[in-house]
Symmetry: D2
């Protein structure tokens, strides 16, 4: 089942009112989950390339982005004891990490790295989903 | 996009041979991602219930299961420098965590907790996906 | 061995120049590690209290703070392919999470919750260490 | 403050009886925290080496070991709703990951990689601490 469907069903079962727009939430949770996965795999794909020496900045940004997306997805998934300032700060960090990782991946995508092309797309999607959610909260 | 689709595209872009069956891998990655999400949200949903006092064991198992599924999903996603013994040990820990969390969630699902019902299903799916992958590796 | 000593030895073995002040780095890594641990345990201690119903906001902020400190500690530990904007954004999110969690824990500490008292201290220490590092980077 | 001291104070504040020996718990929590940190930094140090091409298996095992130690440290830190089977399975996965990562790091330590030497020591310490705890639980 897609993560978005899991998130939707679980948010529907939440015992109180949600703190933010359900559609934006689901999109952000899915984007964080996708981006964490694509960055984890892109780091690993880069590590398997003969040209790994040229990909060390990409690997590092992938690792940061995977960690930040995973933490953001968890923070955003929680509704109880919701704090808009913490959530916003984390979303802003995620926008920064996703944008920076996308910039780097796009360089390597232009030189034929297919995993960097897919990963850049996921990073851009997550950058946008987090940006839209933070705009709603602020 | 579903995580399964992201994982499939990234595995297709992996620069060498995959170490295990591609279909089982994708299914396990998706199941770990889904289960980590459902457990994170089930812990939060339980925390929002008036009867939270009766749900503390469920919350704890949800937190463990979310952490273990997240780590397992990462280990399984990596193909470079693959080590079957580490992967298998982690998959076995995930089978144990998912099965135990499902058992607990099913108790509360029987008393009308909808989030526990959904979560138990995701735990069972992940328990099975990890079990099938470990059987292939062993 | 203290985490600070591990971090110091590993930074000394880093094959290039460090990107930021070694002392501030070590202090921030240790503070993130300590705070992630105290928040994980404070959430669990709260869950074990008879008055858990009154502690749900504290548990939630503990869980967020633990996730954010863990991710921040990892980002800050990495020197290769260093990006000051990503690091700063993550440090700012950590300052926000630690400050908010400390505020909440201090309320319960004033009512005799010893684990909240210890946790508030760790949160304040981490808030300060991250704040000092972000000030140096900016 | 050392993580061991944080863990000790938080366990002392736990509102019920601990489920396992306090000394073994504290040692295991500290070892997981140290080993997660040393593996995160060893992966980064390897990534900064000119000979990164020869260190890809080491980086991969470092990343797995960091994720598994972090998850194990969290599972072991929780006392509420304790489940010996889940805890033991996770500790066994951690023993496997630490032992495998230590074996790999020792190869590179023998060729002068100082970060691999330090990391191998932390992995061995964590392998032993987790092994002793699992022996007590079983």
């Amino acid at each position: 089942m897609p993560v978005a469907e899991v998130a939707r069903q679980m948010l529907d079962a939440y015992p109180s009112e949600l703190n933010v727009d359900r559609g934006l939430l689901v999109r952000c949770i899915e984007a964080c989950s996708d981006c964490a996965e694509s960055c984890t795999q892109c780091a690993d794909d880069c590590l398997g390339e003969e040209s790994v020496q040229d990909l060390t900045t990409c690997i590092r940004l992938n690792l940061d982005c995977a960690d930040i997306c995973a933490a953001t997805g968890r923070v955003v998934s929680r509704q109880t004891g919701y704090d808009p300032a913490v959530t916003s700060a984390m979303l802003r960090a995620c926008v920064e990490a996703c944008g920076t990782c996308a910039d780097e991946c796009e360089i390597h995508a232009a030189h034929g790295m297919e995993h960097c092309r897919v990963c850049a797309e996921e990073c851009r999607r997550c950058e946008q989903a987090c940006g839209e959610l933070v705009a709603e909260i602020a």
